[in-house]
């Protein structure tokens, strides 16, 4: 089961994961990561922009590579675009597999690529001012682990 989406409205990760799990009967394990807008750092809002011709096709290619690299039964990859408030989910990746290691590693792989190698641009509002956010060096280092 493969479900790759860009969403412009708030979503409920629990509902998506429930459907996803039901759609992969016989699985041995599911691993899920949900990223949310942090609410403890003075951030008033977060905005994610994208480039239509590249962003969703790029996520589909990432899913292709994830299925090729890990022994998966299913993959759910949902990413928000638009303006979000603290506490709202930004991203949800869930992988279903016969065995846990493939599911855990597949989610890690997808998240590292979504953070630093997918066609999104993120900015946050603090004190009424917008600031663009670039990946941290740690994000690039995390991504580089998979090049080996």
């Amino acid at each position: 089961m493969r479900d790759i989406r860009l969403l412009s409205e708030p979503f409920n990760p629990g509902a998506l994961i429930g459907e996803f799990t039901d759609a992969n009967p016989g699985l041995g394990g599911v691993c899920t990561f949900v990223g949310e807008v942090r609410s403890d750092t003075g951030v008033e809002a977060l905005e994610l922009s994208h480039y239509e011709p590249l962003t969703l096709p790029g996520m589909e290619q990432l899913a292709d590579r994830t299925f090729a690299r890990f022994d998966l039964m299913g993959l759910l990859m949902v990413h928000r675009i638009g303006r979000m408030q603290p506490g709202e989910p930004i991203v949800c990746v869930s992988a279903a597999a016969k065995h846990r290691r493939a599911a855990i590693d597949a989610v890690d792989f997808c998240m590292d690529h979504l953070k630093a190698a997918a066609w999104f641009w993120k900015r946050e509002q603090r004190d009424g001012q917008w600031h663009w956010i670039e990946p941290r060096n740690d994000d690039y280092a995390d991504l580089a682990r998979w090049a080996k």
């Binding site: 480039y51 590249l54 953070k115 630093a116 999104f120 641009w121 900015r123």
Partner: protein
């Protein structure tokens, strides 16, 4: 017809606009001339990519945009 240049992410602020139209064809040298000095500086950095007609260019200096095509200027990304 023309070539549309799109400024993505922080390049939009640097350019002071989201898009501009220029005469076709558009090549690398012409692009650097029309986008302004600040954006041109960014484009010459390896971490900034260019897409033409929906495809990211492996060699951005080989840009050859024709009538009706869209050229997207893609600064470093940050998702998740």
């Amino acid at each position: 017809m023309a070539v549309t240049i799109l400024f993505l992410g922080p390049l939009r602020d640097l350019a002071g606009r989201e898009a501009m139209e220029v005469d076709a064809p558009l090549e690398w040298a012409g692009l650097l001339e029309v986008v302004g000095a600040d954006v041109a500086d960014q484009l010459q950095q390896a971490r900034v990519n260019i897409a033409c007609a929906g495809k990211v260019l492996a060699d951005k200096m080989a840009l050859q945009a024709q009538d009706g095509e869209e050229v997207a200027l893609l600064p470093p990304v940050s998702g998740g």
